[in-house]
Subunit: 339 residues, 2 copies
């Protein structure tokens, strides 16, 4: 880690947690410093003749390429669409850049490409430009995908402030940790993996429905790498509030909870790829929850916490026993290559 | 190759030549088929409230990371800027997605990031959004970079037709094959490598100057992977013309010509990263050449050929001896990982 004695890239630098934030803040932000580049924004904001555009990118290196509920292609399309949607933007177009390893079976590539097409159709977005590179055998790992996306803020909608205020209610559109658990179970070939499916899905229509119903949503964020815990820590830090979760209210599916129990891991740090966190003013919380629940991807939406005036700890959880535990950002590399 | 019995990805699928075109045309285009996706366009064209946006992406996997005249970072910034500029668009913003291999020296990453920043400054473009992923040691090759870019067509400028017409003069802004030769010489540690430097440069200001002086430029293309030969074959095919080159007029630096001679390779197939081909109506050729030459990156600009009514062969060259040779698209993988 920069500034802490190490001089090489570690797996933790890609975790979505603390080491990655340090790398971004110590190396990338100072180099590219400009007013549009923000460490916590899911998309950059470009102004263009009175309209606001969102622009974002992500590379996908998930291992395995195929897992219950999805594959690297679906992930690459949904992830970028979701990064646009959480800013309040409607996705306009995606790019798709493939890095292939020599020897990749053509059938695998065909499946991934078909899966990208189908996810893009589901979201109503087109893939309009692309690139293909090939690495000699042994210099890559089958297939990496990059997608970038351009979105447009609908006329009359303001760019979401991206911060929460004391009193705001924190909502999520369903069960947490499905994606991380599905990838981990598939990778380790656990017996129960058939019961755990990734939640990977394009959230643009769900988010559109939410923002139509409740335009004064304060903040949306997709809790991907680093999980719920890292995403809420980021929101709390950016908003200078303390967020208190109600642990009992956080939806976790039985098999996922069982896997976490078995491995001694916390589902709050597992990646999600079809979830969105919303901070909404308390008087609009019921409407927002109803809007989420009226969409198939929000059927299990729940209010899971509250923002309070900042009080030492950015994120904590009220446990089943009534005590409070501190929930820090992800440190280390609990789940490398999860997306 | 698809449709020719093979079932695995080959290095040639990333060459910029024939196998890559077959992969794109047989697999990617049918899957993503939509009116904005074009096999030959360097950028996709998005319409937005009466304005035209260009959107493009490229991944960079060049080996070695550092070579005389540049590195993977400079390449990643310039390549995407040039793909926007050849459509007539002014670059608005870039993204930068890094895939790092565990163990990459932090100092190498710092050099690459600094180089991206400096190339972006040179072009007057900002890097506004990014992503970082880390691969376990042995699953990647130090560092891959993806950049995507968004550009805007200035008001009053039309999107370049991208095709040439019979009679058009073909111009290039300087010496060919420098990038491919520099990377190859560095990789193979040839003694003469100190004399060969990559031409990698952002061409947006040069192209702006050309289009200001000669708005009726018909077609611009950057001859990167696959070299001059593949780019001109693409132009000829898209335009249904035959292009005849004057071999003697094509600028090639001495050490580059010597390297090609030594290896029995044709400089017309070597990658360029700071070159642009222009097809211009004959009555504007002198003005266009003057506009190119007035810019530091166009000092050695030359008229190198002419478009004629289609006559069996898309691209041919008049040799020093006065005979004509057919110049096909790149086949195979002359230079893997050149960009």
């Amino acid at each position: 880690m920069i500034g802490s004695g190490g001089e090489k890239i570690l797996l933790a630098h890609g975790s979505g947690g603390k080491a990655m934030h340090e790398l971004i803040e110590s190396l990338l932000l100072p180099a590219f410093r400009n007013p549009k580049l923000e460490p916590l924004g899911d998309s950059a904001r470009l102004e263009l003749g009175g309209r606001e555009l969102a622009f974002t990118t992500d590379s996908y290196v998930v291992d395995p390429l195929f897992f219950p509920g999805g594959d690297i292609g679906r992930l690459a399309v949904c992830g970028t669409i979701n990064d646009l949607a959480v800013c309040g933007a409607r996705p306009l177009a995606l790019s798709c850049a493939l890095i292939l390893e020599e020897g990749l079976p053509m059938a695998d590539l065909e499946k991934v490409v078909e899966s990208m097409r189908s996810a893009a159709d589901e979201a109503g977005v087109e893939i309009v430009t692309g690139d293909t590179k090939v690495l000699p055998h042994g210099k890559g790992d089958r297939l990496f995908v990059n997608t970038a996306g351009v979105g447009l803020l609908p006329e009359g909608r303001r760019w979401l402030p991206g911060t929460a205020e004391p009193g705001d209610v924190v909502l999520i559109n369903g069960h947490v940790a499905d994606h991380g658990a599905a990838v981990m179970a598939e990778r380790e070939r656990f017996a129960l993996r058939a019961e755990i499916r990734s939640d990977v899905a394009p959230l643009n229509h769900l988010i559109e429905a939410l923002l139509e119903a409740v335009p004064d949503v304060r903040c949306l964020k997709d809790p991907t790498r680093g999980g719920l815990a890292s995403a809420l820590n980021e929101i709390a830090a950016a908003s200078a509030v303390s967020i208190v979760l109600d642990e009992e209210a956080i939806p976790v599916r039985g098999p996922v909870a069982a896997l976490c129990e078995l491995l001694g891991l916390d589902p709050l740090y597992f990646a999600n790829e079809g979830k969105v966190l919303a901070a909404v003013p308390p008087r609009r919380a019921d409407e927002a929850l109803a809007a989420l629940r009226s969409h198939p991807l929000g059927r299990y939406a729940a209010a899971i916490g509250e923002a309070k005036p900042f009080d030492r700890v950015p994120l904590s959880a009220r446990t089943l026993l009534g005590s409070h535990r501190v929930v820090g950002m992800l440190t280390g590399d609990q789940l490398p290559r999860i997306c």
